[in-house]
Symmetry: C2
Subunit: 202 residues, 2 copies
DNA sequence: GGGTGCATGTAATGGGTTACATGATTCT
DNA sequence: AGAATCATGTAACCCATTACATGCACCC
């Protein structure tokens, strides 16, 4: 049986691109570059998504394409929002965000941690510490850049909110990691202790 | 050109199923039910994944299928880990977890919040408050159940760690939401103030 | 009589990454 | 000489959800 509802609103990728183009006209390549230091800490798109999506958006009349000829390099295809695109973007922004599906491989491995023992779990948790510390440094760098280069942009407070989200989250995860490492250590000592009395290894 | 490396290790779904089956033999239906109150807060699988994956695992010899006839109901297909399956699971557990791609629609909408104004952003943040508060209640309920029913299970500490992760995360997000709501309010007042002097609306 | 739970599975559809393909320019 | 950057795009594949398909039992 065929699906009746067309359904396909094109997905969030298209909406994200509309949003980015609302900051200024850009090529697919530019978009990728912009993502990395603006929304890269909570959103990602690959070329395999970006280029086809831009084409579809153009076909829908939500963006407009202009080709800039350059010497040597391939032509730059610069896209800009149309009025329709602006409207669509605003409509989408009002809808409440759909809850994302959580899939946390670290927690999955930790959950089954008994099969490997304390040291493997500890290594996984320590890896999280490293990534979150580096995430915090990234947030700081982006924050500085924003406050310097976008001092008078009316969007600045919104951008800082997303950074703050990342900071809160990372700091909480670091706190959790600290506690978890303590627990793992206690477990290790407990295991040794039990082992000496001969009732370890199930 | 054909891909040379077979690549397909079957993905994490299969590994998650191996893990769950390490807790006891189960049917696909049981697995879905178990997920919801054990790893449901950080992992999800749909039937459309579970049934085909179990079939593949059986073909690989990592699980064994036994059919239980029941009256009235369809046959129950109960799967259990084979020795090979246990080995595979342990091997996978040792590998460091791959970082998951973040895709946070709330932050995306907040990032472009200027296009809609303060009240829309506020609504989105308030929705987050609701979901995180309910998440906290879920964690509490699961914690109680675990401490009651799995008092002597050697895996208990690992399971509690994953719960604690959720708690830390949710509490941090609530904290962030509180701060963000304050910022939004300040912005609103700022906007009004400016509006009265006639330089609002970009 | 109708909803919910038990119980299995497949097909259509959608979303997304990675590898491939191309090729000039600029920096080291 | 070789790597990195600019710049575009497609094809293959993988992963995942949702809807469909089926049907009995039990409770209200």
């Amino acid at each position: 049986m065929k699906r009746v509802t067309p359904k396909s609103d094109g997905g969030t990728t298209q909406k994200a691109l509309l949003g980015l183009l609302s900051l200024g006209s850009m090529s697919g390549y530019d978009i990728r570059a912009l993502i990395s230091w603006s929304i890269g800490h909570f959103w990602s798109e690959s070329y395999g998504q970006i280029y086809p999506a831009l084409k579809r958006l153009a076909a829908l009349g939500l963006v407009e394409k202009k080709t800039e000829r350059t010497k040597g390099r391939p032509d730059r295809h610069v896209y800009s929002l149309t009025r329709q695109g602006q409207v669509q973007l605003k409509e989408w922004l009002r809808l409440s965000p759909v809850a994302e599906v959580q899939r946390n491989e670290l927690l999955l491995k930790l959950f089954f941690g008994r099969h490997t023992g304390v040291d493997v779990s500890r290594a996984h948790v320590l890896a999280l510490v490293v990534t979150q510390q580096s995430a915090l440094r990234v947030y700081e760098a982006i924050g500085k850049r924003l406050r310097r280069e976008k001092k008078n942009d009316p969007s600045l407070p919104y951008w800082l909110m997303t950074l703050s989200y990342g900071r809160h989250r990372s700091e909480a995860l670091l706190q959790w990691a600290k506690e978890t490492l303590r627990v793992l250590e206690r477990m290790e000592r407990g295991e040794v202790w039990r082992k000496e009395r001969g009732d370890a290894h199930k």
